[in-house]
Amino acid sequence: MERKIRVLVAKPGLDGHDRGAKIVARALRDAGMEVIYTGLHQTAEMIVEAAIQEDVDVLGLSLLSGAHMTLFVDVTRLLKKKGMNDVLVIGGGIIPKEDVPKLKKEGICGVFGPGTPCEEIVDFIKKNVKK
């Protein structure tokens, strides 16, 4: 049996900067994971629907516009509502330190800001993936 970790990398909201998301996607690919990239301008509903169809183990959200407290939380609440409790949710982007504990409380288990080494994200996923 060959289990592979499947990760959805998504950009909720309206900011058009996906360089960071692409770098992380590439790093996860090189770590042997199957990475599904959905592109820009996704709503919470679109992201959760894709996570269901792709049956992902991990959902990585990237947002640089400052709307993370609204949009990240929309995604985790919708996941919970759909009963998708076994998906590890992580986030990245421009996120002030004081928001991190609030995000963690809302189910975003790992938050990675600019300058995070990619290996740190890979290790975090491998250690915390739920299935």
Binding site: M1, E2, R3, K4, R6, A25, R26, L28, R29, D30, A31, G32, M33, E34, V35, I36, Y37, T38, G39, H41, Q42, E45, M46, E49, A50, I52, Q53, E54, D55, K82, G83, M84
Partner: protein, 313 residues
């Protein structure tokens, strides 16, 4: 587990997605459910879409799906991208072109990595087609990886195969080569707003005119600009015509038989490979033989015979 079967037959997306994962991972639970759902399969029209990378396959699929949705058909999409031979990872990016379909409950999209398969498909794709078929999809579209000249496995699974070409990729001699240019039921010249379109259409048309494989039907050549939804309705009409043609000429049964044959071979291949390479008891033998081959004490044929001898006993 019977619960999962009935949920799949009712089209529940989470259950469909979960069973696909089980088959992709060669999970021992998967075969039992696959056996349960098989009697409910065979209704979906399977369309294979192949072509070089960047030819617009994903965009074309998105537009074809929107047209089928207008006609009230439910659509399943299997989008395959390559798995890295180095890391085993993959970047599956076909959804980016299908954003418009994301919220449509009548559409199910699954991205797959090839996981070691070389013919343009993924090993579990036969199972995934059956799962989507059993879940009530009227149309199942299979998008191959971006192909070169020889990845033609899509014909084993599709009722109708679309070969997508774009203007500006070499001259007439390319269309005469064996492989990808032999497998089309319909040729699609996409990105037809680009320079060189007329020449490409003429070259493909020429190829059709000089081939004499099927007397009853000449392979049609369509032009599309998928991004602008041009030529899509006409293409869907032609795809629908093709399936009627298959049924009228009894080729339909032949195609399905070919698919079951490929599926059977794939199941046996997977099981045999597991028997050899996943069994712990053969691990030492294989390691020893590899060492011996490296030292030129044994040749690969003798080594293969020893391994096969052990499992066939």
């Amino acid at each position: 587990m019977n619960d999962l079967t009935s949920k799949i037959l009712n089209g529940d997306p989470r259950s469909i997605a979960r069973l696909i994962t089980l088959t992709e991972n060669n999970d021992p639970q998967a075969p039992k459910i696959m056996k349960n759902i098989h009697p409910y399969t065979g209704k979906a029209h399977v369309i294979g879409i192949t072509g070089v990378m960047g030819s617009g396959k994903s965009t074309l699929i998105c537009e074809l799906t929107r047209e089928y949705r207008k006609q009230g058909k439910k659509v399943g999409i299997i989008a395959i991208d390559p798995t890295s031979p180095f890391s085993g990872g993959a970047l599956l990016g076909d959804r980016v072109r299908m954003t418009d379909l994301a919220m449509d409950k009548g559409v199910f999209i699954r991205s797959m990595g090839t996981r070691g398969m070389l013919g343009g498909l993924a090993s579990a794709v036969y199972d995934v087609v059956e799962i989507l078929d059993a879940s009530g999809k009227d149309i199942v579209m299979v998008e191959t990886v971006g192909v070169g000249q020889a990845e033609v496995d899509v014909i084993k699974i599709a009722d109708t195969t679309l070969v997508v070409v774009v203007p500006g990729l070499g001259d007439y001699i390319q269309t005469l080569k064996a492989g990808i240019m032999e497998i089309a039921d319909i040729y699609v010249v996409n990105k037809a707003d680009r320079p060189g379109m007329q020449q490409t259409v003429a070259e493909v048309q020429n190829l059709v005119d000089i081939s004499c494989s099927d007397k009853d039907r000449k392979t049609p050549v369509f032009t599309t600009v998928a991004k602008e939804n041009k030529g899509i309705k006409e293409l869907v009409d032609e795809i629908n015509k093709h399936i009627l043609f298959l049924k009228k000429t009894k080729q339909f049964e032949d195609k399905r038989r070919l698919r079951y044959e490929a599926e059977l071979v794939e199941i046996i291949r997977k099981r045999l490979m597991n028997l050899i390479f996943d069994e712990k008891k053969l691990e030492d033998t294989i390691e020893r033989l590899l060492d011996q081959i490296s030292r030129k004490e044994v040749d690969p044929y003798t080594a293969a015979e020893e391994i096969l001898g052990k499992i066939l006993k």
